[in-house]
Symmetry: C5
Subunit: 325 residues, 5 copies
Amino acid sequence: RAQETNSKTTKSQLTEVRPNLSEPTQVSVGIYLVDFDKFDEQNESFKLDGYLFLTWKDQRLAFQANQNNLGSKTYKPGEIWLPDVHFANVELKREKAYTQIKVNPDGTVNYKERFKGTFKSEMDVRRFPFDRQKLKLVLESPLNDTEQVIFNVDKSKTGRSSEAFLTGWKIGEQNAVAEITKSEVENIEENQYIYEIDLFRDSDSYFWNIIVPLLLIIAVSFTVFWSRSFESNTVISFSSLLSAIAFNIVIAEELPKVAYLTFINGFILISYLVICLAIIQIVIKHYLNAEKKEDISMKMDRICRWLFPTSFGISNLILILIFLI
Amino acid sequence: RAQETNSKTTKSQLTEVRPNLSEPTQVSVGIYLVDFDKFDEQNESFKLDGYLFLTWKDQRLAFQANQNNLGSKTYKPGEIWLPDVHFANVELKREKAYTQIKVNPDGTVNYKERFKGTFKSEMDVRRFPFDRQKLKLVLESPLNDTEQVIFNVDKSKTGRSSEAFLTGWKIGEQNAVAEITKSEVENIEENQYIYEIDLFRDSDSYFWNIIVPLLLIIAVSFTVFWSRSFESNTVISFSSLLSAIAFNIVIAEELPKVAYLTFINGFILISYLVICLAIIQIVIKHYLNAEKKEDISMKMDRICRWLFPTSFGISNLILILIFLI
Amino acid sequence: RAQETNSKTTKSQLTEVRPNLSEPTQVSVGIYLVDFDKFDEQNESFKLDGYLFLTWKDQRLAFQANQNNLGSKTYKPGEIWLPDVHFANVELKREKAYTQIKVNPDGTVNYKERFKGTFKSEMDVRRFPFDRQKLKLVLESPLNDTEQVIFNVDKSKTGRSSEAFLTGWKIGEQNAVAEITKSEVENIEENQYIYEIDLFRDSDSYFWNIIVPLLLIIAVSFTVFWSRSFESNTVISFSSLLSAIAFNIVIAEELPKVAYLTFINGFILISYLVICLAIIQIVIKHYLNAEKKEDISMKMDRICRWLFPTSFGISNLILILIFLI
Amino acid sequence: RAQETNSKTTKSQLTEVRPNLSEPTQVSVGIYLVDFDKFDEQNESFKLDGYLFLTWKDQRLAFQANQNNLGSKTYKPGEIWLPDVHFANVELKREKAYTQIKVNPDGTVNYKERFKGTFKSEMDVRRFPFDRQKLKLVLESPLNDTEQVIFNVDKSKTGRSSEAFLTGWKIGEQNAVAEITKSEVENIEENQYIYEIDLFRDSDSYFWNIIVPLLLIIAVSFTVFWSRSFESNTVISFSSLLSAIAFNIVIAEELPKVAYLTFINGFILISYLVICLAIIQIVIKHYLNAEKKEDISMKMDRICRWLFPTSFGISNLILILIFLI
Amino acid sequence: RAQETNSKTTKSQLTEVRPNLSEPTQVSVGIYLVDFDKFDEQNESFKLDGYLFLTWKDQRLAFQANQNNLGSKTYKPGEIWLPDVHFANVELKREKAYTQIKVNPDGTVNYKERFKGTFKSEMDVRRFPFDRQKLKLVLESPLNDTEQVIFNVDKSKTGRSSEAFLTGWKIGEQNAVAEITKSEVENIEENQYIYEIDLFRDSDSYFWNIIVPLLLIIAVSFTVFWSRSFESNTVISFSSLLSAIAFNIVIAEELPKVAYLTFINGFILISYLVICLAIIQIVIKHYLNAEKKEDISMKMDRICRWLFPTSFGISNLILILIFLI
């Protein structure tokens, strides 16, 4: 009975007590991205599916390799001590599809976990649709005790699947660092492993589906400078304005729902403005004609034929300077 | 065996019985906001991610510090007595990502919890898009027994992360108070800790995306006062009306879906009204011309050229007075 | 060992057997509404957050009050017998945030539960936006055995929080009754506690956001009766029609998504009809003019100037009579 | 100890072994529909809330009735053997709100369960909005062994609540059959209980909200055959086309989102076509007038005045023949 | 007591140790598709409901058939060893509705499971609405150890229900292969069973609901080449442009929300372009007429009457060549 108690204690110690208490445990961390599930610019979050690899040494688990155990022993969570890690920027908790723990004869523990979670990461879509984003996964140890667990980057297991895709984005390079930072919340030091991945928005479809049609509408609105019929001109310019607004309805779903101005908002605003100015020009022309000042109105037309396209181009250049450079 | 039973009782007492029953337990409460997840004006709720800190003294857990326990002992929920607190305004329950309990040698218990929940808080968006909101988290003890647990504000652990953001809002100051109030439901006194945080809506994008385009449409609709062609005037004013309505479709998604009038509703209504009045003006002008009273119609135009913009401006000033001041 | 078994039996009896089997247990029921979370006219359901109070007498739990137990003992669910109640019209099950059971020295059990659930309740929005709804919570005992549990209304604990709100509605009076009805499903009698609460829709915002703009559009479409230009009249009346339809797009989200006609549907249909009739009138005028019957067309205009507004008003009065009275 | 083991075995046999192994157990099945929660034409599924009644005889549970047990004994799931039934067309699993098992003195077991589930059922909305649907619940025994459980229809417990409603549908008759079919998946026979309920779409609101406004738009587009002004005619016919398209936006949400043509799609397509043909007619008229063939254009108008409405009517009759008969 | 321990060990061995450790276990895999639940082009995922069949031999479970066990014994998960398989491309985990394990007298284990899951599968909708997709289910063993479990295709149990449907798609042939591949993540070999099913989009409704109405709008916009009235021409061509845009709003919901160009995007873009070119043509015509070059403008009209339709046709042919062939 004493032995039983003893064995129980041993077992409890094996699962609850860190190996080699006299020095911190070195844990090699690897994150391997399998796929993105969702990308939400409004809430600045993304859903990710991946593998988490942890490797450390627990001398107590070392064993003599033989034919039966095939060079490694398999354990279940709860049977041995595991470093208690969690993502700092995950929404609530990561979900685990499955975990797998293998111990080599020398006591090296290989922990592999397939996880999924919604992660919060600051995103800036001001340059939309020409923006890039840097997504972050921050792994922490909730014990907040640098003396106990030290993260190292396991380069061989940090990466991403070649089949990972995020519709509308080109996936760039991933990068991982391990660092010790001061906690904002409490007066303690924290151990962090940060996995970063670059995303480049695929702007082609936005160019053809949003910018080109708007340019076509602007172009046809400029035909008023070649027409001398006031009735037709009002139809042309107001229909252009209506077309631009109606087209804005079409594309409303594709624009990011953020509460700050983006490049594309600026472009649409300039489009509205230039069409409204063309409307004011045709009324002035009409007014001049009514006042028998046809020569001035003709001159005005000739100037506007190049003034409007030029101004529109310059405004957009300024917009590009402000937002994109 | 007797001893075993005894130890069991002791353990049960440790977890179920409050320390020092003769006087209420003083619990220092701290809430630290990590991030906002969602903000719903229609249901007047918000999702929040944060830390809850509770600190109290349990003399029974005091111990002799030595090299092994590193100055503090760690417990799991269920192993010791915990004050039973909950949020009064949370939807159902808060979700706990993880909890961490550390006891100092003097018996001070430090409870830390990462939580997430959807909280209900009265919101008034009548001033939209120039509104500010005061969000509340109300922590209560369900035992409703002020003799048992007294909340204190733990200022050092009340705060918010510098990385917390809520897209479309500037986050202001947080504030926390502990108070004893009379329950509305039952004839008992309740112990409350209230954490408040101010939010200021970022109105810039609403100004440029909603108000400026509508002002442009109003402006071009006023060109009818300089034109004498009835055919063109009908096109101008009706296209302006259609543009305003179509533009309203574009922005419908950005307006708060509340069932009361907001500042922006008033602004849109005035826009519709002013365009409709311009339509009536052009028909009267046309009618006068048909009746050979061109001089009156000319005079009318001259008056309207300043009357309409002025009236529009004054109406909006009144609107601002009613809604914003 | 025998004693142990005995004590076990007692405990099991305490939790599974109703007190005083010879007569039905009188259970006082109180429901206290904390807040509404959602209101869905399409599925005729609402989400509600509240307290459920049950009070009954269990002589077996009576005890001698002393200083230690503070006048009441606290139990957990599963430790004593509880009446097995559920909501008949809840979707699946109510969720319980927490429960609290206190027993007074005389054996009176006070059960308090914070619950949340989605409830189905017949709603009729035919009078939208001038409708009122009566929401129901029906509590039943699944044992369906009136001999066992009798519900009484506990007036002191039936109520609603002054902070309860449902955006877009004024909350009226609540009412509770307990009754015994015959089950529709099986040939048995059922014991029901019904909590009802009145809701009055806040129709102000619908009036200003939907009805006033439509009236403006109708008004400007009537200007065709003062204009003799066929070209302008086609523009006026068709733009009015388009504006009404476009405006219908703006408000589509605010209208209840039910598959029967509501007052507002009727109002919109009459608006379309009156504009289409105005279109037919202008073509008849044009045809008469082409046939050199200008005097008849002039007369027609003079008649329509009062006929159209009057007919529109009368149609709406009939609509009000049908739907609202 | 032997006895204990024996009792254990008995208990385990009671719960795991079917009564009277020598012949199949006759199970009377009744399904009672309480309410519909959701109806999804796109995924061809519906959510349903109801009671499942199972009745069979287990001689082993027969007992001597006396005053204490009130004529029936109550059991919990897991305490006795239950036929293992499930719905073949449910999404994943049904959810159980509560279950209730009563055994009569003769051993008759009455199993009652309140369940909810999302069921897949083939739907054909080609005749929309004049369609009817037959919804199916298919109950199977996963043991797939007709020798073990035989389903019978329990007519007295098959039905639906008079308060069941599905917004937008009239609920017709329900019907239940029990049959033995060959499994598609494996080479075995299956025992099925099929509950069917008829639904008839309430087409009134679709008639008034969709078809009547479209007919009004078609009607006003036909006024071009009475007008000789090309300018006005272009406005009339194109505004009609735009109105029809804009109206299509209004109603887009109400149409079923299926990927095949429905009656209403055909009706909208014919509407577009007839307006486009009218546009072509006015341009031909204009061209003839320019070529000084006014008499032909006049004749054309006179023919079109009855040709267009007639063709439109005939097209719709053909559509009705194809889709509805 | 020793025997008890022994039996326990045996049981644990039965559930945790693979039968016949000396050679890999041959597992026959069959997947039988019951139904699709959802199909998401944006996230490139689909929800699927099906049966998973696994068959292998476990000599330890062989038994003597007699009348009682009906030729097979039934086990529950946890009672015997099961190959640990999972889907590599499922979101998190598959959900299991129920599982059924039958062992034949010779030790052949028949595992049957009804499962549901959301699967990620690369989709290419560039050819929309004339695209086809190949959906994949990839089953793996998480032990990643080809020495342990070898997958074989069980043709007799690989298939799909004749009642499986996916609204908007024709379901083609399914196919299954078992293969050994090198893992991307770790330096190990993996055992995969891949089930593929072809889907062909039902493009009829897209043809009639999207392409035909757009062709009608293009057709009526070409009437400007037969009209010499500038005022009418501006109305015709701009209304066509507005109609095309408004129609785009109607169909926006039906188009796949992907961030790359599809065939239908190209078709819509060409439609906009051709209408805008027609607008430019009418302004040039008007300008020529104002410059008294009516003969050139007449000639231009005659050329455009066949040039525009031809160019439109050729552009679409090129589009078809790029996207569809």
